[in-house]
């Protein structure tokens, strides 16, 4: 038996049973999973967690499943890297990278949410899983779904780059390329989700799927020695990850695992798509949608579903929201690679560059502990760096040619 007592509308509070539903019938607000924390408190202790396997299911009582985990048994528990080189460069005492460039099996934090979504899809009895995506989510549904034995339908816009298509296609899902833009693909998928009895991970399974993001927050606390950081910087697309990282911290406080919690939560966005950061800066509750134009494509959601809630978390924790230009994003990717040996996708460039800005503004203190969430691997979006990397030294195959080049390299320093 699990520890979920039901679903509840975040807007109007109406309650619903645990079903593959995601929107309140009355006010269209999003449904959220409700847990029985009193019962969880009795079983989920630091000691019990520490005895378990190092994957995201070590916190299973706080995930919305009834039985045992079925998908993503190797996912999660990524490194929390103490980033001393980067800390020195940015002039702060203690900085950590939560490194989700290496989540098993498809190298982004989407493996966390899909592990939970597909386990739930099994419990609901679905035989087919589906999603609309342009990248990380498509890869994760294709891979996790293959291992778990689901039929898979993955919907993408027909104009998607070849490299991203191959990274899904290799797992042999039914890849459907729609002649239209992202918006049209999404709209089509919501119609399909109404008609076919499939588990669309980010539509009808969304309340369960989104809970998977909390595991990044749980891991941060555990890996810091069961303490909360002073600051956490989270990239925002829909804003869901930010709200779930904070929810994870609060849940650990609620069940007594965390003694103190005073973390400030910061939202990182690209200037070319920054509706959440803009609302925070202007001090308004209204998230004004934008038409995205940024190199950080995985964050390019102009009308973010959880934007309001993300801005409320930032406000409630005395954090802030900042945004950075495409140039700063590229510099952020390179800075993280050069100092810590971690190659992040563009979203990570956003987070690093935003962290730098927040430190310069004094919003993140130089003597505080800060965790930066890096959510996906740079090998997937290499084209973003074209023309921005160091150059290759081409030589003839002889020692003289090499030494000539070596001289040039050394004198350039």
């Amino acid at each position: 038996m699990g520890y979920v007592s039901g679903l509840k509308c975040r807007e109007c509070g109406r309650e619903y049973p645990v079903d593959p539903i995601y929107v309140c019938e009355f006010c269209f607000g999003p449904l959220e999973v409700v847990y029985d924390y009193k019962r969880i408190k009795r079983v989920l202790t630091r000691k019990n967690i520490e005895k378990r396997e190092k994957n995201l299911w070590r916190y299973k009582e706080l995930l919305p499943i009834n039985g045992e985990p079925q998908v993503g048994l190797q996912s999660g528990f990524t490194p929390l890297v103490k980033a001393d080189n980067l800390a020195r460069e940015l002039g702060v005492r203690e900085l950590y990278i939560k490194d989700d460039t290496v989540v098993h099996p498809t190298l982004s934090f989407k493996d966390r949410v899909v592990a939970v979504a597909l386990t739930k899809a099994k419990e609901f009895g679905f035989d087919t899983v589906a999603c609309a995506s342009t990248g990380n989510l498509a890869h994760s549904v294709s891979a996790h779904g293959a291992k778990a034995g689901f039929k898979r339908f993955v919907f993408i816009p027909a104009t998607l780059e070849q490299s991203k298509i191959v990274a899904s296609l290799v797992y042999e899902p039914n890849l459907v390329a729609v002649d239209g833009n992202y918006d049209e693909v999404n709209r089509l998928c919501s119609e399909i989700a109404n008609k076919y009895k499939w588990a669309f991970v980010n539509i009808n399974i969304r309340p369960f799927y989104a809970e998977g993001s909390k595991t990044q927050g749980f891991e941060i606390i555990e890996q810091l020695g069961w303490e909360a950081p002073d600051n956490v910087v989270v990239p925002c697309a829909s804003g869901s990850l930010l709200t779930k990282v904070w929810k994870a911290f609060k849940e650990f406080k609620e069940i007594g695992i965390l003694k103190e919690l005073g973390t400030k939560v910061f939202a990182a966005q690209a200037t070319g798509c920054s509706p959440i950061a803009a609302a925070i800066k202007q001090g308004t509750d209204v998230i004004r949608p934008v038409k995205p134009n940024t190199v950080a494509k995985s964050l390019a959601i102009g009308n973010p579903a959880d934007g309001f809630y993300a801005s409320q978390v930032v406000k409630a924790t005395n954090g802030y929201g900042e945004d950075v230009s495409d140039e700063e994003i590229i510099d952020g990717i390179k800075l993280l690679a050069r100092t810590e040996g971690i190659f992040s996708e563009t979203a990570g460039g956003v987070t690093i560059a935003t962290t730098k800005k927040l430190i310069e503004q004094g919003r993140i203190g130089r003597n505080e502990t800060t965790v930066v969430c890096i959510t996906g691997n740079g090998l997937k979006t290499q084209e973003a760096l074209t023309g921005h990397t160091a150059e290759v030294h081409y030589i003839k195959p002889n020692l003289g040619a090499f030494e000539e080049t070596l001289n040039k390299i050394q004198s350039a320093r």
Binding site: F26, N186, E191
Partner: protein, 96 residues
């Protein structure tokens, strides 16, 4: 000729199953309140206290009213108004 108002599936119960109904020209919020006179219950599903609910998106001729004058956006005869639950894939809201 009136304003054409497209009703989302979850609200069609209130419009006797009609996908499209006629609305009155004027501001968007007045149009919603006028719909209430013919389809009781519909206004509170779409709006609260004169504001469109956070998870309802309204488009006038395919443009989101938040890019226009929000609830005060003027609609005239012949315009098309779409009411779309936000999280149901009406906008660019589904995570990629």
């Amino acid at each position: 000729m009136a304003v054409k108002v497209r009703i989302p599936t979850p609200l069609q119960r209130l419009t006797q199953g009609k996908e499209e109904v006629e609305g009155k020209s004027g501001t968007v919020i007045n149009l919603i309140n006028d719909l209430e006179t013919r389809y009781p219950g519909i206004a509170e599903r779409i709006s609260e206290g004169g504001k469109v609910r956070r998870f309802v998106n309204i488009y006038v001729n395919e443009e989101d009213i938040r890019f226009l004058q929000a609830e005060q956006t003027q609609v005239k005869d012949g315009d098309e108004v779409s009411i779309v639950p936000a999280i149901a894939g009406g906008g660019i809201t589904v995570e990629r």
